[in-house]
Symmetry: C2
Subunit: 332 residues, 2 copies
């Protein structure tokens, strides 16, 4: 048996707490430290705080000390903005810990943040550790999965991904984030304010293009409301006819006027046919569908934990899902 992976959890918000719950179910992984800046959490047992069994790990607000613990990897779940989490990332790397993060921008940061990316890559190589951003999307359904499916192809001319979700079964924050229950005018204004939108399309598009060796001239995104024709609802939200039930977001990677990559997210209350479909236009064509779609709340945390083992065997540096060993569930 390989020795247990020793992990520090940094960030104990809703996602961080779910990660701790999941870590507690994995015999191959041991939580040895927990970090959060919220003074109300300091000193609490990370397991009890997270709604699972007592784990004997007290939450610390002192990241610098906690990062000195004997661990191989830090799970960083403190935000979506790379600039915001940068000091935390640097602290982890300086403590010679590899990092798996839920930060969407970290899934492929090289295009939007070339200087920060080069800096993180240098720092990680110097310290002999690896850094990865992953999750269900970006990290799996719209990038790594189409990439892996393309393994069966001798030629690839284009990629389409369709993630169609019935948002009625998701958490309230997700339903809010897609604009369910808003009027079209409210949707437009919240979209302008940056409150409505899935983050990660550009990262997924650039990750695919880079792995395939495609030079993109343009990456564009478009978000529009899905307006309910009939009243619909979830446990949390009532949507009248004419109000927004959710959104449709489309991202495109374009080369010389030709769309090579199309990512489409439809997430609204009452979607009649939830599914995740990947279409590789190539030789051969490959169309793969996960009926019902992958549960995003579970899968984001599962992806992060399942990447721990692969990251341990990855080459040092700032890595993407296309560069680390194949991730998979692991049990005992």
């Amino acid at each position: 048996m390989p020795e247990k992976l020793r992990v520090i959890q940094m960030g104990l918000g809703p996602i961080g707490q779910r990660l701790v719950q999941y870590l507690a179910q994995r015999p191959a992984v041991e939580l040895v430290g927990a970090i959060d800046i919220d003074p109300q959490k300091t000193g609490m047992d990370a397991g009890l705080l997270s709604g699972t069994r007592e784990l004997g790990v007290a939450v610390s607000a002192d990241a610098v000390s906690a990062l000195q613990l004997d661990a191989q990897i830090v799970i960083l779940a403190t935000g979506s903005s790379l600039v915001h989490i940068l000091p935390q990332l640097e602290a982890c790397l300086r403590a010679e810990k590899s990092v798996v993060s839920t930060c969407e921008e970290l899934a492929y940061p090289f295009a939007d943040h070339p200087k920060i990316s080069a800096h993180l890559d240098d720092l990680a190589r110097q310290r002999g550790v690896a850094v990865l951003g992953t999750g269900v999307n970006p990290g799996f359904l719209m990038d790594a999965l189409p990439l892996f499916l393309s393994s069966a192809c001798q030629q690839v001319a284009g990629v389409e991904v369709q993630r169609h979700q019935d948002a009625a079964i998701r958490r309230l924050p997700f339903q809010r984030k897609i604009g369910a229950g808003l009027s079209p005018a409210e949707f437009a204004s919240q979209y302008q304010a940056g409150q409505i939108r899935h983050v990660g399309f550009a990262q997924s598009i650039r990750l695919i293009a880079h792995a395939f060796g495609w030079q993109l001239d343009q990456v564009e995104e478009r978000v529009e409301p899905v307006v309910a024709e009939d009243p619909t609802s979830s446990t949390f939200i009532q949507v009248a006819a004419g109000q927004c039930a959710g959104l449709r977001q489309v991202g495109r990677g374009i080369c010389k006027g030709k769309t090579l990559i199309t990512l489409e997210l439809e997430a609204y209350l009452g979607h009649p046919n939830p599914r995740d479909t990947v279409i590789i236009h190539g030789q051969p064509n490959v169309t793969s569908t996960i009926q019902g779609g992958v549960d995003g709340d579970i899968a984001t945390c599962a992806m992060v934990i399942n990447a721990l083992q692969a990251l341990r065997n990855a080459r040092p540096g700032l890595r993407t899902m296309a560069e680390i060993p194949l991730t998979h569930w692991f049990g005992a």
Copy 2:
């Protein structure tokens, strides 16, 4: 741009020739050598022999000399039996070349050939190169793909794969291998003689179990004919009612009397619903279907070529698809 991958093709039978055709279409790869023991092929241009353009690479029967060429990787397509190809593998590793092979037994050789596996692993590590067996099956549909889909799961209790194929559109040797056109008695006798059967189920089952950390007590396989109720046919073969249209093969990985892994291949003339389906029983459940199924003739060769880049970044040693970086198509 990364420099071109320099590749030697060893074995120029039907699969080897298709590999050369495909290599000729890949700008990122350069064929620098070609080896085959058939004296009728010696000296011929490997490209012309393979039905593609002239590549300026003459086929050599002298493997030892040809392996001294400046190349990083050998593609070995000379057989399904590990014992049979062992001397060729050793010669490649001693020449400090990594190897990707279509040899089905090499996809996961550790259980059936532990001594040979340890020897190859040692030799590859000593020479700083990596060895991999891959293809569409084993190598992708029944092992690496279910493994990768499990990345989205926090728990996995079982795996099922169903590969259902309409054999009427496949090559004649494939139709022969599944027993199409035989009487049930002929099928039984050819099966006993080892002529009917897909090789690779045991390797796929053990690869999944190893990656998941499952200890299997038993791996079993069963093959039965699919008898035509009505006459059916392909371009090559007429099947009368009561004759065999193909086969159904089921492999199981069992732990303490419980089946954890089930692989099912149905391949017969006129299959009404060809598809490749992976079912992960877990949290969440994931059911993924490729409608029509993946074209096996193209995909086996594509998998081998698409693994070249990943293998170059793999750790030295005898590796599986679960240990090398995520494979994907690559273009320019």
